[in-house]
Amino acid sequence: MEPISHRSRVYKRPRHVVVVVGVPDESIVKELNTYLASHGREGLKLIIATREPSSRVLEALRDFLLSNIAFTIEVYSVSYERLREIIGGEGGLVKIFASSGVCGELPEDLAAKVCGR
């Protein structure tokens, strides 16, 4: 990539990172709403680790995303392999949620980290 000569407009990337393992279910969406209300001001980076297609992820989050009219939110959809790296090294990581039933299908090392087994 060529060097960027002029950067007067700086996008503030979200400061808080929340990881959801599996497609977010109703209870996780509820938690996300609570989290957004209290910490949304500094932006929210939401990383969804799942084997499902990203359309499925966005569908599950649709009402949550549409009800937000104030805060910066980024949604990423990643694989379990990428999740390992994120848990190991993502700055600003504040919370990990596991959707119901997902713990049983996770590889052992991830299940230990995400589900506390």
């Binding site: 990539m1 060529e2 060097p3 960027i4 000569s5 002029h6 950067r7 007067s8 407009r9 700086v10 996008y11 503030k12 990337r13 949304g40 001001r41 500094e42 932006g43 980076k45 297609p53 990203s54 359309s55 499925r56 992820v57 966005l58 569908e59 989050l61 649709r62 009402d63 995303l65 549409l66 009800s67 937000n68 009219i69 104030a70 805060f71 910066t72 939110i73 980024e74 949604v75 990423y76 959809s77 990643v78 990428r82």
Partner: protein
């Protein structure tokens, strides 16, 4: 010459609508009574392009994104959809913006719902996405980023998002985030599937770049955001910013240099430029008109994008501002009217209090119907022609509310105007509510639709005579007249059909 970032949209957006912005509304409808190609010819002719496929005029929102990327050092350009093939082998990022990707916005969704026929803008966008050039780019791994005011619609078309390989949906003001996304994409970093740009990332006045090329029909933004807080509107969620006059004039010059002589002042409420809250102040408005019209000269066309009815009434009754602007600055032998979009939305005080409590300000919502009529009279007397919207199916709307709207439309009969019905689309603070569709119509809605149709047809020919003067408009005028006579022939049959559906 190649561009790393190609910005585009479909034909219904990449056009100057023959220099007549109101024809853009027609592009959101289904082609009825005429073949689709003819409908497109009437509403969305192809723009002039240079040898690189760059349109002379392009949608203003795309121009802002292009400017932000160029100023950040990227090789970016807006390319006409018919010329994307020139970059199919070289582009690295494809950015697409739209006002109404899937025809879920107003008024497309309502035409679609009423007629059952898919609107032209949706068909045209789907054609763009399936075009060989876009498919080739995707097969090469080009990153596809979509945004604009209709970005939310992708959340209802997730299968298409998957099928077409959309990498990122951007909802909100794009000037800052597009630079970040472009950097990530070119570095091969992971892109978010969705970004909502919050208030903290809205660009300040200094951060809003000047457009680098001409905008469609010379549209220039004079302010961003709106202080009225109507619950159905997404613009009101943005912070209010006034664009300094020198920046406005600089953009007018960009347009003039490209051969676009006219100006559309864009704001949700033009008369609130540097206002005292929601009370218009004459000096900044007069100066704005004086300076802008000096640039365009007497022959340049001129319009306001939007104005509020309350501001029109207040400005005229307190400062005679409307008549002053029109008679001392705007009107002359070349400019015989001023077009503007205004929102009536409802004739019900009760509903106004619930969903748009400040729309009538500085007058109380209890006076809303009078505010509307007074503003219409003022506009009529000063040759301002409003295209007014009325929203049917707002949350909590009752039969009584719709009856009040019908009464108000009756009161507006003497005033030259177009009144366009819109079915409620969940946007703004009401985003989580349900769409209003044909199945939700009641008899009073059908009556309201009929009233609005009668009002518009009553005034349409008169307006067309002033709006489309000159031989160059003869073919479009002829086709519009044909379309209107077709609608007149069919409407009674259609209303009866709607009434039957409702009764069932």
């Amino acid at each position: 010459m190649s561009f790393d970032i190609v910005i585009t949209t479909d034909r219904t957006m990449m056009t100057n609508h023959h220099g007549k912005e109101f024809l853009g509304f027609v592009a959101t409808g289904p082609p009825i009574g005429v073949p689709e190609w003819l409908w497109l010819y009437i509403t969305a002719p192809k723009p002039k392009v240079d040898e690189l496929g760059r349109p002379v005029e392009a949608p203003y929102g795309l121009r802002k994104v292009e400017a932000a990327l160029i100023e950040a050092g990227f090789k970016a350009a807006i390319i006409d959809p018919d010329h994307l093939d020139k970059y199919a082998d070289t582009a690295k990022i494809l950015m697409i913006g739209h006002h109404d990707y899937f025809a879920y916005g107003p008024p497309s969704s309502e035409w679609w719902s009423l007629t059952g026929v898919e609107p032209v803008n949706r068909r045209s966008f789907i054609r763009l996405m399936n075009s060989p050039a876009v498919r080739k780019m995707k097969s090469r791994g080009v990153k596809l980023i979509v945004g604009g005011p209709a970005a939310w619609q992708w959340l209802y078309e997730l299968e298409l998002m998957e099928k077409w390989g959309v990498d990122t949906i951007v909802d909100g003001e794009g000037e800052k985030v597009v630079v970040d996304l472009a950097e990530k994409a070119l570095r091969g970093e992971e892109l978010p599937k969705y970004v909502y740009v919050g208030v903290d990332n809205a660009p300040s006045v200094d951060e809003i770049p000047l457009i680098k090329g001409a905008s469609v029909n010379g549209l220039v933004e004079i302010m961003r955001g709106c202080p009225r807080g109507c619950k159905f509107c997404s613009v009101t969620l943005r912070p209010l910013r006034f664009i300094p006059l020198n920046k406005i004039l600089a953009e007018v010059e960009v347009n003039i240099r490209a051969g676009v002589k006219g100006v559309i002042l864009h704001s949700e409420d033009v008369l609130l430029y540097h206002a005292d809250g929601i009370k218009p102040r004459p000096d900044p408005i007069i100066r704005l008109h004086e300076e802008v019209l000096k640039k365009t000269g007497p022959k340049g066309s001129f319009a306001w994008a939007h104005a509020s009815l309350a501001a029109i009434k207040y400005a005229e009754e307190n400062y005679k501002l409307i008549s002053k602007l029109m008679h001392e600055y705007v009107l002359n032998e070349h400019r015989r009217l001023l077009g503007v979009e205004v929102g009536i939305e409802t004739g019900s005080v009760n509903l106004a209090r619930k969903i748009m409590v400040a729309k009538s300000a500085p007058y109380p919502p209890e006076r809303w119907p009078d505010v509307v009529e007074d503003a219409f009279r003022i506009m009529h007397e000063n040759l301002i022609i409003p295209a007014a919207t009325v929203i049917l199916g707002l949350p909590e709307e009752t039969a009584e509310d719709v009856m009040k709207t019908i009464e108000l439309i009756d009161r507006l009969k003497p005033y030259r105007s177009i009144i366009v019905p819109m079915f409620f689309v969940p946007m703004g603070a009401l985003k989580k509510n349900k769409w209003f569709l044909r199945d939700h119509l009641r008899l009073e809605h059908v009556e309201a639709l009929k009233k609005m149709y009668e009002h518009t047809i009553y005034w349409a020919e008169d307006i067309m005579k002033i709006y489309m003067r000159g031989l160059q408009y003869a073919p479009v005028k002829f086709l519009l007249k044909y379309f209107m006579s077709y609608v007149k022939r069919k409407v009674n049959k259609y209303v009866s059909k709607l009434e039957e559906i409702v009764k069932k």
